[in-house]
Each structure stands twice: as C-alpha cells, then as structure tokens.
Amino acid sequence: MPDRPTRRERYERARRRRSVVVAAISTIVVVGALIVLIPLTPGWERVRQAFFDGDVFIDTFPGLLDAFWLDVRILLWSTPPILVVSLLVALARNTRSPALFPLRAFAVIYTDVLRGIPVILLVFLIGFGVPALGLSREWANPLIWGSVTLVLSYSAYTAEIIRAGIDAVHESQRAGARSLGMTSSQTMRTIVLPQAFRKIVPPLMNTFVSLQKDVALVSLIGPVEILRQAGIDKATYANFTPYVAASLIFLALTIPCTRLADWALARQRARTGATTIA
C-alpha cells in the first residue's frame, strides 16, 4: 500500500468536503428562512401563545410524563401477545394438511377482518361491547379490553408481515434442511423462521412504532393516559401546549426505537458478511 492517498481516496475526500459544505449551507438557508418567515405570518403570535407557552409546558410536563407511563405499560404488556398470536396465525396460514383447513380458514378470516376495521372503531366495539356482556367488575376494566383490541388488530398486521417473511425464505433452504432428514416443523423452527425474522425486522419495527402511537387510542374508552391527560390539561389552561409536550414525549420513545432497529440490522449485515452495493 502506498503511503500517499490513492486517486480514489483524494477524489472521495474532495467530494466529502464538498457535500458537507453543501449540506451545511442548505440547512442554514432552510432553517433560517423558517425562523425568519414563520414569525412574519399574521397568525404567528396567536399560534406561539396557544402552542408554545413555556409556563404551561413546565406546569403540565411532569403530569404528562406520569400519564405516559400508562402508555408504556400498555405497550409492554401488549407486545408479547401480539408476537405470539401473529406467529401462530402466520403458521396456521402456512399449514398444508387438509385436516387443518378450518385453522387455515380461521387465520384468513382473522387477518382479513381485523386488518379491515380501523383500530379506533375496534376500540369502541370491543371496549364498550365486551364489558356490556355483564362481566364482573374487575373484568369490565377498559384497560383490559383496550389492550385486547390492540393485540387483535396488531397481531393481524404482524401475522401478514411474518407470513411474507416466511415466503421470502427461498425454497432451496427448505430443500437443504429436508435433505438432512429434518422434519417440516424442525425446518420451520431452525431454518426458515430465523431467516424470516431477520428479513422482517424493518417492517416489524415500523409496526411497533405505529403501535406505540396507537396505544393512545385506548384513552377513548376511559383510561387517562397521555393523550387524555393532554386533553384535560388543554381544557384547564385553555392552551394547546400540552399537545406539543405530549408529541415530544412520543418522539422521545419512537425515534430511538427506529434508530435501534437500523443499528441492529447494520450490525447483523456486517456479521454475516453480506455486502451492500453503493
């Protein structure tokens, strides 16, 4: 290796320098324009007072954070059942035996119906409908039925993602495993599913981020989580700043999650040696 930079290295260094300069200038121009132009709009002063009131922000933030803890708990206890149910539904759709036809049919209906109804409607239908069956007091808790709704709806979406991942594993992988004498369920568990899950990490994370936000819909049937708390605060202060604060709290959860997924994928790519084409 020569000590002096190669032609390619010099070229790329120059290019890198140039792109940094271009990116910096364009960012300054755009952000500067926003800072200058937005306050010039006729309604800006009203919007600033209604949405960006520092005192209201400081007053309401701790309460919102407290309420957000409920969102986090709903998220945490809903996610494992979503993964389990969606995996079972995806596997049910993949069965071939004629005896399992009812299972297959159930899986198709499950995904079709639950993906076809808006989550917000499902929350109302299940959250108000099921307790109306006359359940005992502890079972009439809206938290339970709100969470069940999320599990039903999201496991239907996730099942389709998992199924796509299973289909994306090439048939030759199955042939390789079966030629060793592995049974079809061993092949599914040790060869197909591990590869399928690697392929679907991005869409799974996407769905997880989406779930983090849809947890707020549970508030529609009662529980005071962050969205509802923000609504209460808004009414108390006659100011929209709590909504901005709530948005920031959501972002503090969702952005790290997506970054984490990207990082995990990049690491795994580096480990198994697959190269990417620039």
């Binding site: 030759s172 992988q173 390789g176 079966r178 030629s179 060793l180 004498g181 591990p194 590869q195 040696g273």
Partner: protein, 257 residues
C-alpha cells in the same frame, strides 16, 4: 456375473424401477430403471432439462414420484404416504447452489443435522463436525459465515454438512456448475477422496473429463430416459446411440472434453 436361479438376488443398494415424474403436462422422467450397488459411483450426463436433477431429487424424495419404485436396500421408499424424513437422513444430497444456511456459522451448518435429526449432543456433534471440516481442509473457517467463503469453500461445507449425517448414499447435483473454473478442482478432489473411501454416489455433472475418470458407470439421459448406460470407456469412446454421440460431440466442440 454368474446368476443362477438359486443364487440370491445381488443386493443392490439403490434401484429405480420404471420411475416416472411429470410437472403438469411436461414429462421429466419417463420410466427410469437404474441399479446402484454399494460403493458404486454413477454419473448422470445429458443436456440441461434431460432429467438429471429431477432423478436425484426423486431419489431423495424431495420430489414425489408419480409412478414406479425406488428401492433402498430392497425397500420401496417411493411408496406414497411413507414418512420421508427417516429415509432422507440415510441419503445425503449436495446441491448446485450449495443451499447452506446463511444465518449459521460453518460449524453450525455442519452440526445442525446430527443435533436435530440424530439427537447427537452438542459437544459431541461439534467434535465430529470439526473433524469433518479438518478432513475437507476447512478447519480455519469453522466460525465463519457462508457469505464470507469462496464458492469452492461453500460447496465443501455443503458436502461436509451432508457427510456429517453419515449417509449411505450421496447424491451430487451439478455441484461444480455454480463455481468459477479455478475452484472446481478443490471440490472434485473431495469427491475423489469419497470414492476412495468407498462412498456410494450418484453424480449429475457437466464435467465430462471428471465423469470419465471417476465413474464406475455413466448414464446418458435424454428426455427423461436413460438412453445409454455403460462403463465410461464405452460411453465416451464408442457410444452406441446417435444421440449420445451428438451430445458428446457438442461437449467436445465446446471444449469441455
């Protein structure tokens, strides 16, 4: 061979009797009869689409046969409804495109069969696997992943993965066709060593020189039939069938023999 009525039927390791296979309206195997004795190395030659791969896949029950028998030690394994898993573990298969498991290291690829299918415990499987990798000159790559290996190394790992199951018969499906020319030799060396060790093998290939060197018998397939079968000297030097002659002429013209 001096067969008499009273002599026991010569024990064939593997036989095909009138095996037929179609994909839709396309007839791929049209009545295959083939006998493989223990320790035999049989090569299957013929144009692409002549049925070589399908024949091997039918032997391993990766494709269900439509008709006819496949006898392994005299037992019909092609009987519809038979559980194929216990049979497949006795017949190894190596594929053109390796079919290694990309999410597992080399040593895990080699040990997964014994561990999952034979119930070998993890440390024993690892010892056996490392020994197998050493035999194939792959010791240093044990912890690597398939994507980090050359094609020749990947194919040798695939052979090691099959051999780890201690198969009675090994099916090799154009195992050098996906390799760069300079990597073919290392894989063929492995096959040579297997023959020396007495492994029963069926080998579909386009490597005519190698087929000539290693085979006990060569079968020329044409449109799903074994058109001509015999020792390599006869097939390559004085083929009887016009179609065999034409095929070999094309191979010679392409500089492959």
């Amino acid at each position: 061979m001096n067969d008499t009525a009273s002599a026991p039927v010569p024990a064939m390791k593997l036989s095909m009797r009138g095996v037929c296979k179609s994909f839709g309206s396309t007839v791929v195997l049209d009545g295959i009869d083939l006998d493989v004795a223990e320790g035999d190395v049989i090569t299957l030659i013929g144009a692409s689409g002549s049925g070589k791969s399908t024949l091997l896949r039918c032997l391993n029950l990766l494709e269900p046969t439509d008709d006819g028998q496949v006898l392994l030690d005299g037992v019909d394994i092609a009987e519809p409804g038979l559980d194929p898993d216990p049979i497949r573990r006795r017949i190894g298969m190596v594929f053109q495109s390796f079919n290694l498991f990309p999410h597992m290291s080399v040593i895990d690829n080699v040990t997964i069969g014994p561990r999952k299918v034979l119930g070998t415990d993890k440390s024993q499987a690892r010892r056996d696997g490392l020994e197998m990798l050493e035999r194939l000159g792959l010791t240093e790559r044990a912890e690597a992943y398939p994507d980090q290996l050359s094609g020749g190394q990947q194919q040798r790992v695939a052979i090691a993965r099959s051999l780890a199951m201690n198969p009675e018969v090994l099916l090799l499906d154009e195992i050098t066709s996906a390799l760069d020319p300079e990597l073919v030799g290392e894989v063929l060396d492995v096959v040579r060593n297997l023959k020396a060790a007495g492994m029963t093998m069926l080998f579909a290939t386009h490597e005519m020189a190698f087929a000539r060197e290693i085979s006990d018998r060569v079968c020329f397939l044409h449109r799903g039939r074994i058109l001509e079968e015999g020792p390599p000297s006869q097939i390559f030097e004085s083929p009887r069938e016009a179609r065999t002659q034409a095929f070999l002429q094309r191979v010679i013209d392409a500089g492959r023999l």
